[in-house]
Symmetry: C2
Subunit: 221 residues, 2 copies
Amino acid sequence: MRHFDMEMTELKKKLVDMASSVQQMIKISIDVVVKRDKELSKDVFSIEREVNLDEIVIDDTCLKLIALNQPVGSDLRFITSAMRINSDLERMGDEAVNICETGVELLEYPELKPLIDIPKMVVIVTEMVKESIESFNLSDTELAQKVLEKDDAVDELKRIILKDLIEYMIETNDRSTVIRAMNLVSIAKRLERLGDHATNICEDVIFMVNGKDIRHNNRSN
Amino acid sequence: MRHFDMEMTELKKKLVDMASSVQQMIKISIDVVVKRDKELSKDVFSIEREVNLDEIVIDDTCLKLIALNQPVGSDLRFITSAMRINSDLERMGDEAVNICETGVELLEYPELKPLIDIPKMVVIVTEMVKESIESFNLSDTELAQKVLEKDDAVDELKRIILKDLIEYMIETNDRSTVIRAMNLVSIAKRLERLGDHATNICEDVIFMVNGKDIRHNNRSN
Protein backbone atom coordinates (compact mmCIF):
# COMPACT_ATOMS: atom_id res chain seq x y z
CA MET A 1 0.00 0.00 0.00
CA ARG A 2 1.35 3.44 -0.94
CA HIS A 3 2.05 5.80 1.92
CA PHE A 4 -0.71 8.12 0.65
CA ASP A 5 -3.25 5.29 0.60
CA MET A 6 -2.31 4.37 4.13
CA GLU A 7 -2.89 7.93 5.22
CA MET A 8 -6.26 8.02 3.47
CA THR A 9 -7.28 4.80 5.27
CA GLU A 10 -6.12 6.36 8.52
CA LEU A 11 -8.23 9.49 7.83
CA LYS A 12 -11.28 7.35 7.19
CA LYS A 13 -10.68 5.46 10.43
CA LYS A 14 -10.40 8.73 12.37
CA LEU A 15 -13.74 9.91 11.00
CA VAL A 16 -15.47 6.62 11.73
CA ASP A 17 -14.09 6.70 15.29
CA MET A 18 -15.28 10.27 15.74
CA ALA A 19 -18.67 9.24 14.39
CA SER A 20 -18.91 6.46 16.92
CA SER A 21 -18.18 8.97 19.73
CA VAL A 22 -20.95 11.19 18.37
CA GLN A 23 -23.35 8.25 18.23
CA GLN A 24 -22.50 7.51 21.85
CA MET A 25 -23.19 11.15 22.77
CA ILE A 26 -26.60 10.95 21.09
CA LYS A 27 -27.46 7.67 22.82
CA ILE A 28 -26.49 8.96 26.27
CA SER A 29 -28.29 12.30 25.78
CA ILE A 30 -31.50 10.49 24.96
CA ASP A 31 -30.99 8.27 28.01
CA VAL A 32 -30.69 11.42 30.14
CA VAL A 33 -34.14 12.43 28.85
CA VAL A 34 -35.84 9.04 28.98
CA LYS A 35 -34.23 7.49 32.07
CA ARG A 36 -34.09 10.85 33.87
CA ASP A 37 -30.51 10.22 35.01
CA LYS A 38 -28.46 13.36 35.51
CA GLU A 39 -25.24 11.43 36.22
CA LEU A 40 -25.09 10.27 32.61
CA SER A 41 -24.81 13.86 31.38
CA LYS A 42 -21.18 14.04 32.58
CA ASP A 43 -20.25 11.44 29.97
CA VAL A 44 -21.80 13.53 27.21
CA PHE A 45 -19.68 16.54 28.18
CA SER A 46 -16.48 14.54 28.43
CA ILE A 47 -17.02 12.85 25.04
CA GLU A 48 -17.80 16.30 23.58
CA ARG A 49 -14.32 17.50 24.51
CA GLU A 50 -12.83 14.55 22.61
CA VAL A 51 -15.05 15.19 19.59
CA ASN A 52 -14.03 18.85 19.51
CA LEU A 53 -10.38 17.80 19.46
CA ASP A 54 -11.10 15.19 16.78
CA GLU A 55 -12.60 17.89 14.58
CA ILE A 56 -9.44 20.01 14.70
CA VAL A 57 -7.11 17.03 14.15
CA ILE A 58 -9.13 15.74 11.19
CA ASP A 59 -9.27 19.12 9.47
CA ASP A 60 -5.56 19.48 9.94
CA THR A 61 -4.96 15.98 8.55
CA CYS A 62 -7.06 16.84 5.48
CA LEU A 63 -5.17 20.06 4.79
CA LYS A 64 -1.83 18.27 5.08
CA LEU A 65 -3.01 15.44 2.83
CA ILE A 66 -3.94 17.96 0.13
CA ALA A 67 -0.82 20.11 0.52
CA LEU A 68 1.64 17.22 0.51
CA ASN A 69 0.04 14.93 -2.06
CA GLN A 70 -1.82 17.19 -4.47
CA PRO A 71 -4.63 14.69 -4.93
CA VAL A 72 -7.12 15.03 -7.80
CA GLY A 73 -10.37 13.33 -8.80
CA SER A 74 -11.88 10.89 -6.36
CA ASP A 75 -9.04 11.25 -3.83
CA LEU A 76 -9.58 15.00 -3.65
CA ARG A 77 -13.35 14.49 -3.42
CA PHE A 78 -12.79 12.04 -0.57
CA ILE A 79 -10.71 14.53 1.40
CA THR A 80 -13.02 17.51 0.91
CA SER A 81 -16.02 15.32 1.74
CA ALA A 82 -14.19 14.20 4.87
CA MET A 83 -13.82 17.87 5.88
CA ARG A 84 -17.52 18.43 5.41
CA ILE A 85 -18.56 15.25 7.22
CA ASN A 86 -16.18 16.23 10.03
CA SER A 87 -18.04 19.50 10.45
CA ASP A 88 -21.45 17.78 10.39
CA LEU A 89 -20.32 15.27 13.01
CA GLU A 90 -19.13 18.03 15.32
CA ARG A 91 -22.43 19.86 14.96
CA MET A 92 -24.27 16.59 15.69
CA GLY A 93 -22.27 16.45 18.91
CA ASP A 94 -23.52 19.97 19.71
CA GLU A 95 -27.10 18.83 19.16
CA ALA A 96 -26.54 15.90 21.52
CA VAL A 97 -25.17 18.30 24.16
CA ASN A 98 -28.27 20.44 23.75
CA ILE A 99 -30.60 17.45 24.10
CA CYS A 100 -28.67 16.45 27.20
CA GLU A 101 -28.91 19.94 28.73
CA THR A 102 -32.64 20.04 28.02
CA GLY A 103 -32.94 16.60 29.61
CA VAL A 104 -31.21 17.91 32.75
CA GLU A 105 -33.57 20.91 32.84
CA LEU A 106 -36.53 18.55 32.64
CA LEU A 107 -35.34 16.82 35.82
CA GLU A 108 -36.38 19.90 37.81
CA TYR A 109 -39.99 18.96 37.11
CA PRO A 110 -42.03 15.82 37.60
CA GLU A 111 -42.09 13.59 34.54
CA LEU A 112 -44.44 14.72 31.79
CA LYS A 113 -46.13 11.47 30.88
CA PRO A 114 -46.77 11.75 27.19
CA LEU A 115 -43.42 11.77 25.44
CA ILE A 116 -45.77 11.67 22.45
CA ASP A 117 -44.01 10.36 19.34
CA ILE A 118 -40.53 11.34 20.49
CA PRO A 119 -39.37 7.73 21.05
CA LYS A 120 -40.53 6.89 17.51
CA MET A 121 -38.54 9.87 16.19
CA VAL A 122 -35.49 8.75 18.20
CA VAL A 123 -35.61 5.32 16.53
CA ILE A 124 -35.65 6.72 12.98
CA VAL A 125 -33.07 9.44 13.60
CA THR A 126 -30.67 7.08 15.39
CA GLU A 127 -30.99 4.71 12.45
CA MET A 128 -30.35 7.54 9.95
CA VAL A 129 -27.21 8.60 11.83
CA LYS A 130 -25.92 5.03 12.01
CA GLU A 131 -26.60 4.32 8.35
CA SER A 132 -25.15 7.62 7.13
CA ILE A 133 -21.84 6.72 8.77
CA GLU A 134 -22.04 3.17 7.46
CA SER A 135 -22.66 4.52 3.95
CA PHE A 136 -19.51 6.65 4.31
CA ASN A 137 -17.46 3.76 5.68
CA LEU A 138 -18.54 1.39 2.89
CA SER A 139 -18.88 4.06 0.14
CA ASP A 140 -22.40 2.65 -0.20
CA THR A 141 -24.45 5.13 -2.21
CA GLU A 142 -27.55 2.91 -2.17
CA LEU A 143 -27.61 3.00 1.60
CA ALA A 144 -27.00 6.77 1.47
CA GLN A 145 -30.01 7.14 -0.81
CA LYS A 146 -32.13 5.06 1.59
CA VAL A 147 -31.24 7.45 4.42
CA LEU A 148 -32.22 10.49 2.34
CA GLU A 149 -35.63 8.96 1.82
CA LYS A 150 -36.24 8.77 5.57
CA ASP A 151 -35.94 12.52 6.05
CA ASP A 152 -39.58 13.23 5.15
CA ALA A 153 -40.80 10.79 7.80
CA VAL A 154 -38.75 12.64 10.42
CA ASP A 155 -40.13 16.01 9.36
CA GLU A 156 -43.66 14.64 9.50
CA LEU A 157 -43.11 13.15 12.97
CA LYS A 158 -41.76 16.47 14.22
CA ARG A 159 -44.83 18.21 12.85
CA ILE A 160 -47.15 15.79 14.68
CA ILE A 161 -45.14 16.05 17.92
CA LEU A 162 -45.35 19.84 17.84
CA LYS A 163 -49.07 19.73 17.17
CA ASP A 164 -49.67 17.27 20.02
CA LEU A 165 -47.56 19.26 22.46
CA ILE A 166 -49.39 22.48 21.62
CA GLU A 167 -52.70 20.70 22.30
CA TYR A 168 -51.31 19.43 25.57
CA MET A 169 -50.17 22.90 26.62
CA ILE A 170 -53.60 24.35 25.89
CA GLU A 171 -55.47 21.60 27.74
CA THR A 172 -53.28 21.50 30.85
CA ASN A 173 -52.55 25.13 31.30
CA ASP A 174 -50.13 25.36 34.16
CA ARG A 175 -46.63 26.77 34.21
CA SER A 176 -44.85 23.49 34.78
CA THR A 177 -46.65 21.74 31.91
CA VAL A 178 -45.93 24.56 29.49
CA ILE A 179 -42.24 24.61 30.40
CA ARG A 180 -41.91 20.85 30.11
CA ALA A 181 -43.78 20.76 26.82
CA MET A 182 -41.55 23.52 25.46
CA ASN A 183 -38.51 21.47 26.42
CA LEU A 184 -39.90 18.48 24.54
CA VAL A 185 -40.50 20.69 21.50
CA SER A 186 -36.86 21.69 21.70
CA ILE A 187 -35.76 18.05 21.85
CA ALA A 188 -37.92 17.17 18.84
CA LYS A 189 -36.30 19.99 16.85
CA ARG A 190 -32.81 18.85 17.84
CA LEU A 191 -33.68 15.35 16.68
CA GLU A 192 -34.86 16.74 13.37
CA ARG A 193 -31.53 18.52 12.97
CA LEU A 194 -29.64 15.34 13.73
CA GLY A 195 -31.57 13.81 10.84
CA ASP A 196 -30.62 16.78 8.65
CA HIS A 197 -26.94 16.29 9.43
CA ALA A 198 -27.27 12.60 8.56
CA THR A 199 -28.72 13.56 5.16
CA ASN A 200 -25.86 16.04 4.65
CA ILE A 201 -23.39 13.21 5.23
CA CYS A 202 -25.25 11.00 2.74
CA GLU A 203 -25.20 13.70 0.09
CA ASP A 204 -21.46 13.98 0.64
CA VAL A 205 -21.05 10.22 0.28
CA ILE A 206 -22.93 10.24 -3.02
CA PHE A 207 -20.82 13.15 -4.26
CA MET A 208 -17.64 11.48 -3.05
CA VAL A 209 -18.43 8.22 -4.86
CA ASN A 210 -20.16 9.44 -8.01
CA GLY A 211 -18.68 12.91 -8.35
CA LYS A 212 -22.24 14.11 -8.71
CA ASP A 213 -23.57 16.92 -6.57
CA ILE A 214 -27.13 15.95 -5.68
CA ARG A 215 -27.78 18.70 -3.15
CA HIS A 216 -30.98 20.62 -3.77
CA ASN A 217 -32.32 17.88 -6.04
CA ASN A 218 -33.60 15.32 -3.63
CA ARG A 219 -35.24 17.58 -1.13
CA SER A 220 -36.88 20.93 -0.94
CA ASN A 221 -34.09 22.81 0.79
CA MET B 1 -1.82 39.20 -11.85
CA ARG B 2 -1.25 35.48 -12.26
CA HIS B 3 -4.10 33.45 -13.66
CA PHE B 4 -4.41 31.63 -10.32
CA ASP B 5 -4.66 34.89 -8.38
CA MET B 6 -7.35 36.10 -10.73
CA GLU B 7 -9.31 32.93 -10.12
CA MET B 8 -8.90 33.34 -6.36
CA THR B 9 -10.22 36.91 -6.59
CA GLU B 10 -13.10 35.62 -8.67
CA LEU B 11 -13.89 32.95 -6.04
CA LYS B 12 -13.94 35.58 -3.32
CA LYS B 13 -16.27 37.72 -5.38
CA LYS B 14 -18.63 34.79 -5.93
CA LEU B 15 -18.81 34.18 -2.19
CA VAL B 16 -19.38 37.84 -1.37
CA ASP B 17 -22.16 37.98 -3.99
CA MET B 18 -23.76 34.84 -2.56
CA ALA B 19 -23.48 36.38 0.91
CA SER B 20 -25.29 39.47 -0.26
CA SER B 21 -28.13 37.32 -1.64
CA VAL B 22 -28.33 35.55 1.72
CA GLN B 23 -28.43 38.88 3.54
CA GLN B 24 -31.26 39.94 1.27
CA MET B 25 -33.13 36.69 2.06
CA ILE B 26 -32.75 37.39 5.79
CA LYS B 27 -33.92 40.97 5.43
CA ILE B 28 -37.00 40.04 3.40
CA SER B 29 -37.90 37.12 5.71
CA ILE B 30 -37.90 39.44 8.68
CA ASP B 31 -40.02 41.92 6.73
CA VAL B 32 -42.53 39.12 6.09
CA VAL B 33 -42.80 38.68 9.87
CA VAL B 34 -42.78 42.34 10.89
CA LYS B 35 -44.69 43.95 8.01
CA ARG B 36 -46.99 40.94 7.67
CA ASP B 37 -46.63 40.95 3.89
CA LYS B 38 -47.06 37.54 2.27
CA GLU B 39 -46.17 38.83 -1.21
CA LEU B 40 -42.56 39.38 -0.13
CA SER B 41 -42.12 35.69 0.60
CA LYS B 42 -41.97 34.90 -3.12
CA ASP B 43 -38.71 36.83 -3.35
CA VAL B 44 -37.19 34.74 -0.58
CA PHE B 45 -37.96 31.53 -2.44
CA SER B 46 -36.63 32.81 -5.74
CA ILE B 47 -33.38 34.05 -4.18
CA GLU B 48 -33.08 30.69 -2.42
CA ARG B 49 -32.95 28.91 -5.76
CA GLU B 50 -30.05 31.16 -6.83
CA VAL B 51 -28.23 30.60 -3.54
CA ASN B 52 -28.58 26.82 -3.91
CA LEU B 53 -27.02 27.04 -7.36
CA ASP B 54 -24.27 29.34 -6.05
CA GLU B 55 -23.37 26.73 -3.45
CA ILE B 56 -22.83 24.03 -6.06
CA VAL B 57 -20.87 26.32 -8.40
CA ILE B 58 -18.60 27.59 -5.61
CA ASP B 59 -17.80 24.10 -4.34
CA ASP B 60 -17.01 23.02 -7.85
CA THR B 61 -14.78 26.08 -8.36
CA CYS B 62 -12.91 25.27 -5.14
CA LEU B 63 -12.30 21.66 -6.11
CA LYS B 64 -10.99 22.69 -9.54
CA LEU B 65 -8.76 25.37 -8.02
CA ILE B 66 -7.18 22.75 -5.77
CA ALA B 67 -6.90 20.05 -8.43
CA LEU B 68 -5.39 22.31 -11.10
CA ASN B 69 -3.13 24.52 -8.97
CA GLN B 70 -2.06 22.39 -6.03
CA PRO B 71 -2.11 25.33 -3.65
CA VAL B 72 -0.46 25.11 -0.23
CA GLY B 73 -0.31 27.30 2.88
CA SER B 74 -2.53 30.34 2.96
CA ASP B 75 -3.93 29.73 -0.54
CA LEU B 76 -5.09 26.26 0.42
CA ARG B 77 -6.51 27.59 3.67
CA PHE B 78 -8.38 30.26 1.73
CA ILE B 79 -9.98 27.69 -0.56
CA THR B 80 -10.98 25.23 2.16
CA SER B 81 -12.33 28.12 4.25
CA ALA B 82 -14.30 29.25 1.22
CA MET B 83 -15.88 25.77 1.01
CA ARG B 84 -16.86 25.96 4.65
CA ILE B 85 -18.21 29.51 4.43
CA ASN B 86 -20.13 28.45 1.33
CA SER B 87 -21.87 25.76 3.33
CA ASP B 88 -22.65 28.14 6.21
CA LEU B 89 -24.11 30.68 3.81
CA GLU B 90 -26.37 28.10 2.22
CA ARG B 91 -27.61 27.00 5.64
CA MET B 92 -28.21 30.64 6.56
CA GLY B 93 -30.42 30.82 3.49
CA ASP B 94 -32.34 27.81 4.83
CA GLU B 95 -32.85 29.60 8.14
CA ALA B 96 -34.19 32.64 6.29
CA VAL B 97 -36.62 30.42 4.38
CA ASN B 98 -37.78 28.96 7.67
CA ILE B 99 -38.29 32.40 9.21
CA CYS B 100 -40.23 33.39 6.11
CA GLU B 101 -42.45 30.29 6.25
CA THR B 102 -43.14 30.89 9.93
CA GLY B 103 -43.96 34.50 9.09
CA VAL B 104 -46.49 33.32 6.50
CA GLU B 105 -48.05 30.94 9.04
CA LEU B 106 -48.40 33.84 11.48
CA LEU B 107 -50.51 35.71 8.92
CA GLU B 108 -53.34 33.25 9.55
CA TYR B 109 -53.77 34.84 12.98
CA PRO B 110 -54.25 38.39 14.20
CA GLU B 111 -51.01 40.08 15.10
CA LEU B 112 -49.57 39.10 18.47
CA LYS B 113 -48.67 42.47 19.87
CA PRO B 114 -45.59 41.81 21.92
CA LEU B 115 -42.83 40.81 19.56
CA ILE B 116 -40.88 40.97 22.83
CA ASP B 117 -37.15 41.41 22.25
CA ILE B 118 -37.19 39.90 18.77
CA PRO B 119 -36.53 43.23 16.98
CA LYS B 120 -33.53 43.76 19.27
CA MET B 121 -32.26 40.30 18.40
CA VAL B 122 -32.77 41.00 14.69
CA VAL B 123 -30.56 44.09 14.95
CA ILE B 124 -27.64 42.24 16.56
CA VAL B 125 -27.88 39.15 14.34
CA THR B 126 -28.15 41.18 11.14
CA GLU B 127 -25.08 43.11 12.22
CA MET B 128 -23.19 39.88 13.00
CA VAL B 129 -24.02 38.47 9.58
CA LYS B 130 -22.96 41.66 7.81
CA GLU B 131 -19.71 41.96 9.76
CA SER B 132 -18.82 38.29 9.38
CA ILE B 133 -18.94 38.68 5.60
CA GLU B 134 -17.06 41.96 5.78
CA SER B 135 -14.36 40.29 7.89
CA PHE B 136 -14.04 37.62 5.19
CA ASN B 137 -13.95 40.16 2.39
CA LEU B 138 -11.28 42.28 4.09
CA SER B 139 -9.45 39.38 5.84
CA ASP B 140 -10.11 41.44 8.98
CA THR B 141 -9.52 39.19 12.00
CA GLU B 142 -10.17 41.99 14.49
CA LEU B 143 -13.64 42.47 13.09
CA ALA B 144 -14.12 38.67 13.13
CA GLN B 145 -13.17 38.63 16.80
CA LYS B 146 -15.66 41.43 17.51
CA VAL B 147 -18.45 39.36 15.94
CA LEU B 148 -17.54 36.32 18.07
CA GLU B 149 -17.94 38.45 21.17
CA LYS B 150 -21.54 39.30 20.25
CA ASP B 151 -22.67 35.69 20.34
CA ASP B 152 -23.28 35.66 24.10
CA ALA B 153 -25.60 38.66 23.84
CA VAL B 154 -27.65 36.81 21.22
CA ASP B 155 -27.90 33.69 23.37
CA GLU B 156 -28.97 35.80 26.35
CA LEU B 157 -31.63 37.60 24.28
CA LYS B 158 -32.99 34.30 23.05
CA ARG B 159 -33.20 33.07 26.63
CA ILE B 160 -35.17 36.17 27.68
CA ILE B 161 -37.47 35.95 24.65
CA LEU B 162 -38.27 32.33 25.41
CA LYS B 163 -38.97 33.13 29.06
CA ASP B 164 -41.23 36.06 28.13
CA LEU B 165 -43.13 34.04 25.55
CA ILE B 166 -43.71 31.21 28.01
CA GLU B 167 -45.12 33.72 30.52
CA TYR B 168 -47.34 35.12 27.80
CA MET B 169 -48.62 31.67 26.86
CA ILE B 170 -49.46 30.91 30.47
CA GLU B 171 -51.24 34.22 31.06
CA THR B 172 -53.27 34.31 27.85
CA ASN B 173 -54.22 30.72 27.57
CA ASP B 174 -56.01 30.39 24.25
CA ARG B 175 -55.14 28.28 21.26
CA SER B 176 -54.33 31.14 18.95
CA THR B 177 -51.96 32.80 21.45
CA VAL B 178 -50.12 29.57 22.12
CA ILE B 179 -49.66 28.85 18.41
CA ARG B 180 -48.47 32.39 17.69
CA ALA B 181 -46.10 32.40 20.64
CA MET B 182 -44.67 29.04 19.52
CA ASN B 183 -44.04 30.53 16.09
CA LEU B 184 -42.19 33.45 17.65
CA VAL B 185 -40.09 31.00 19.69
CA SER B 186 -39.21 29.27 16.45
CA ILE B 187 -38.18 32.58 14.86
CA ALA B 188 -36.00 33.46 17.86
CA LYS B 189 -34.24 30.10 17.56
CA ARG B 190 -33.65 30.60 13.84
CA LEU B 191 -32.16 34.02 14.57
CA GLU B 192 -29.85 32.45 17.12
CA ARG B 193 -28.70 29.95 14.52
CA LEU B 194 -28.05 32.74 12.02
CA GLY B 195 -25.77 34.22 14.68
CA ASP B 196 -24.07 30.82 15.09
CA HIS B 197 -23.39 30.62 11.37
CA ALA B 198 -21.91 34.13 11.46
CA THR B 199 -19.54 33.03 14.23
CA ASN B 200 -18.60 29.94 12.19
CA ILE B 201 -17.65 32.24 9.32
CA CYS B 202 -15.57 34.41 11.64
CA GLU B 203 -13.71 31.40 13.01
CA ASP B 204 -12.95 30.40 9.44
CA VAL B 205 -11.68 33.90 8.65
CA ILE B 206 -9.33 33.81 11.65
CA PHE B 207 -8.09 30.37 10.63
CA MET B 208 -7.70 31.47 7.02
CA VAL B 209 -5.64 34.53 7.96
CA ASN B 210 -3.64 33.27 10.95
CA GLY B 211 -3.53 29.55 10.24
CA LYS B 212 -4.70 29.09 13.80
CA ASP B 213 -7.73 26.98 14.59
CA ILE B 214 -9.59 28.81 17.36
CA ARG B 215 -12.71 26.67 17.35
CA HIS B 216 -13.69 25.40 20.78
CA ASN B 217 -11.53 28.00 22.49
CA ASN B 218 -13.64 31.08 22.33
CA ARG B 219 -17.01 29.65 23.17
CA SER B 220 -18.53 26.79 25.04
CA ASN B 221 -19.49 24.61 22.08
